[in-house]
């Protein structure tokens, strides 16, 4: 692989741009293609198939064996609340290969001093989600405990078909949340998709352990979701 190709590939991965490399196994020549560009007709089908399925493998191009490697952007986690749990979750999600960002309008919480290199947006979710909308490849984790901050993004996440929607709080807290969301006009069947209490039940007893429970729950939901339903959620 040429250094120029590696630089372009790394830049594209950083910018969440799906990329495919095709390497002729006889000559070692590598070509690089980005999603959304017009492609050379001899390889267009291999590129489209790789982008659609996310599967890498060997194909035949012009009678020669070539290796197609596809690099899709990692799923996103959007956390509402720059709290103690989020500090641990940000580090773990980075290790697990997720692209995590945190939204919290309380500027005392959302400080770079507390969160290092994690992407922080110190705005109300109403504003933050306007420039970066949620989608089916995003997990929404609401952990502020504050309905004024959590409720809007939860409703948005259900609307957008986020593959995971979770909210912190006891069963009692969640029952009140369900009532509020129904008053906002959110469909009851959709509300049932919220993971609450959030996280797998591993008897987590401190912020870092709760972060493990949340991340495990997100991974389980991601790997078992029904991709044919087109809506990201499992049920």
């Amino acid at each position: 692989m040429l250094v120029g190709h590696l630089q372009r590939l790394n830049a594209a991965r950083g910018a969440r741009l799906a990329t495919v490399t095709i390497t002729e196994l006889d000559t070692g020549t590598t070509r690089l293609f980005h999603e959304g560009e017009p492609h050379d007709p001899s390889v267009a089908q291999s590129i489209e198939s790789a982008l659609r399925t996310g599967k890498s493998g060997i194909v035949e191009i012009g009678g020669q064996a070539a290796f197609v490697n596809v690099y899709l952007p990692p799923p996103r986690i959007v956390v509402i609340g720059a709290v103690h749990i989020s500090q641990a979750l940000a580090i773990m999600a980075d290790i697990a290969g997720f692209d995590l960002s945190i939204i919290d309008p309380r500027s005392a919480f959302a400080t770079q001093e507390r969160f290092g290199q994690t992407k922080l947006v110190a705005e109300w979710p109403e504003d933050a989600l306007r420039h970066t909308p949620l989608d089916a490849y995003t997990a929404l984790v609401a952990v502020t405990h504050d309905p004024k901050i959590d409720d809007f993004p939860l409703a948005q996440a259900l609307e957008a078909g986020c593959f995971y929607v979770g909210a912190l709080g006891s069963r009692k807290t969640h029952a009140r949340r369900v009532e509020r969301l129904m008053k906002l006009g959110v469909d009851e069947n959709r509300i049932a998709h919220i993971h609450a209490p959030i996280g797998l039940d591993i008897r987590a007893s401190n912020p870092a352990e709760i972060a493990v429970a949340i991340l495990a729950d997100i991974i389980l939901t991601l790997r078992t979701r029904d991709v044919t339903a087109g809506r990201g959620t499992k049920e």
Binding site: M1, L2, L6, S56, Y71
Partner: protein
């Protein structure tokens, strides 16, 4: 947080090594049969000193790949390696899981 990431991304490391003037090889899983520990497309990157990041198996064949990578960095000629339980050197570098993998090793640059 930290100057160096706790969990470095192999292709990013490869770029940094090259920028440092080190010889670099990239090994990629191109085909698997049976129960293979890492999926097709996985990368292991190696520098001319034998430092490495990433993986192409569960640690079973990395040692052998690193040895081959040193030769690829010197010669510049890419090669394809194959590992499996049926391999003649299986007692040393085979895959205990019973799978078979093919790995493409190329020089960066």
């Amino acid at each position: 947080m930290l100057d160096q990431p706790l969990y470095p991304d192999p292709l990013t490391v490869a770029g940094e090594w090259h920028a440092d003037g080190r010889g670099v090889a990239i090994a990629t899983v191109i085909e698997t049969w049976g129960s293979a520990p890492r999926p097709v497309g996985s990368h292991l990157v190696i520098d001319s000193e034998g430092n490495f990041h990433g993986s192409v198996s569960g640690g079973c064949v990395e040692g052998a790949v690193i040895v081959e990578a040193a030769e690829v960095i010197t010669s510049g000629t890419a090669r394809i390696l194959e590992f499996g339980v049926a391999d003649a050197t299986a007692w040393r570098v085979g895959l205990s899981c019973g799978g078979r993998i093919r790995i493409y090793v190329e020089r960066l640059g």
